[in-house]
């Protein structure tokens, strides 16, 4: 019989109608009545009720996990609905926790939902996570991912990990008694700006569905003791070309979290997101100079000329563009730098200002003196100057 390594809590006895609700689980020898009772007793904390957290929460609730903790401080935005299937159109503007409670109660009123309407930080993480058997990492930034990992290592609870970007997904189970943790694989987060944020990079809406359900699967396996969890393995999914494989992960004896145990305390996400490489560049070349969209617009109206450079991807031009801008995707900037004249005043823009800040740094490092970042990117241009430009 499968056995779980998670702590037992109460009997988890099922009510008569629950034998019908969970009958398809009860028929599986790998789960059965004992596994279903373990699910009923389980307390699972989901950090993030967004792309990954949506399918994970839906399936864990349907599966009969007794207590689901949800950490999310955000409200439902219409741009979430392409992938965050926990929320609906009528929920736009509501807190994600309120929306999630209603949806989960409809799926399974037997599940107790504990909401934490806050951002997970070093100062509140322990208190929130206390008493949960495992944590499902559905966060959307490196800082919180490292915080969740270190929290799991310190508390000794598994980290059911999933992460996505564009068409690529990753999943694993970290921080178990014998397995590696996230820092064994990626010791440190990348410097801010080296990888695009999800809001700028985009993501296939189905992808968090794929990866979030893998996380739910792993959580159920850990709780019931069924099968072989993704401990010591990283599942890689490429949805665009449909390549899927697992690679072997090893526990790193020099890992500062689970190896040498140098990390005794949690660090704030903001500190972990600090960007030493970018800071060094800024120290040498100064902070990225910005120009406000309204300032640029009025200076252009008064007859000044600028070379506006759009460093977004080609598909983004099809959505929205600033008239007259020269398109040089960020990845091609070095190869096409000769197209730009250091004698002209150059304003670089992207969607929100992140990628264009990188471009400004690179241009300044290449000797361009009169180059500015368009503050807030084309989104701010649309809001402050030209509302006919669509936002996305």
């Amino acid at each position: 019989m499968a056995t779980s390594t998670l702590p037992e809590r109460g009997t988890g006895d099922l009510a008569p109608d629950e034998y019908i609700r969970y009958s398809r689980h009860l028929m599986l020898p790998e789960i059965g009545v004992n596994g279903q009772r373990a699910l009923r007793r389980a307390r699972v904390l989901l950090v993030g009720a967004g792309g990954l957290g949506s399918p994970a929460a839906l399936y864990l609730a349907a599966a009969g996990v007794g207590t689901l903790g949800l950490v999310d401080f955000d409200t439902v935005d219409v741009s979430n609905l392409q992938r965050q299937v926990l929320h609906g159109t009528r929920d736009v503007g509501r807190s994600k926790l309120d929306s999630a409670r209603d949806r989960l109660a409809d799926i399974n009123p037997g599940v107790h939902v504990e909401g934490f309407p806050v951002r997970l930080t070093a100062s509140n993480a322990r208190e929130i996570a206390e008493g949960f058997d495992l944590i499902v990492d559905g966060t959307d930034n490196f800082g919180t991912r490292y915080l969740v990992n270190d929290l799991c290592v310190l508390l000794g609870v598994p980290n059911v990990y999933g992460s996505i970007f564009r068409f690529d997904g990753q999943a694993s189970v970290f921080a178990t008694a014998d397995g590696p943790c996230y820092r064994c694989v990626y010791r440190e987060p990348p410097p801010a700006g080296l990888v695009p944020a999800c809001a700028e990079g985009g993501v296939l809406g189905v992808l968090p569905g794929l990866v979030g359900t893998i996380q739910a699967t792993e959580a159920i396996k850990l709780i019931t003791g069924a099968g072989t969890p993704l401990i010591g393995r990283l599942l890689l999914v490429d949805a665009l070309h449909w390549r899927q494989r697992t690679v072997r992960l090893r526990r790193d004896p020099e890992c500062p979290a689970c190896g040498t145990r140098e990390i005794h305390d949690l660090s704030d996400a903001e500190q972990l997101c600090a960007a030493p490489v970018v800071d060094e560049i800024d120290a040498v070349f100064g902070a990225v100079p910005e120009i406000e969209p309204t300032t640029l617009s009025s200076r252009m109206a008064s007859g000044e000329t600028f070379e506006i450079v759009d460093v977004r991807e080609a598909y983004e031009l099809a959505i929205a563009r600033i008239d007259g801008a020269r398109h040089i995707p960020l990845a091609s900037l070095e190869l096409r730098i000769d197209e730009l004249s250091p004698d002209r005043e150059i304003v670089v823009h992207c969607k929100a200002g992140g990628r264009s800040a990188q471009a400004v740094r690179r241009l300044r490092a290449a000797g361009f003196k009169r180059v500015w970042n368009l503050a807030g990117g084309i989104q701010r241009w649309s809001k402050d100057v030209d509302p006919s430009v669509p936002t996305y």
């Binding site: 440190e188 999800c198 072997r248």
Partner: protein, 90 residues
């Protein structure tokens, strides 16, 4: 000939290819060969001193190269190298 698999985020830096043939006797030589043809890939695979990043893992078949000799690990003609950067979306 060993091959190098790229995640979709890096394929624009390699003319859209997600699998590239590489020549070399070691992981480092295979990467050198690829970045000679696709220089824009270079700063995404290794830092300016040629050292591995702590946020980009390279696998030789299904083994993390850090545990089998790093860039000096020998490669065989049918081996697959995979670049797996940390991603944080959710």
């Amino acid at each position: 000939m060993p091959t190098l698999n790229l995640p979709s985020v890096l394929t624009p830096l390699a003319n859209g290819q997600h699998t590239i043939d590489a020549t070399g006797q070691t992981v480092g030589e295979a990467l050198d060969d690829v970045v000679r043809r696709f220089p824009s890939l270079s700063p995404r695979l290794r830092d300016q001193h040629g050292a591995p990043y702590p946020f980009v893992t390279i696998y030789l078949n299904d083994e993390d190269i850090r545990f089998i000799g790093g860039f000096e690990a020998p490669v065989q003609p049918n081996d697959e190298l995979s670049v797996v950067p940390a991603v944080a979306g959710g």
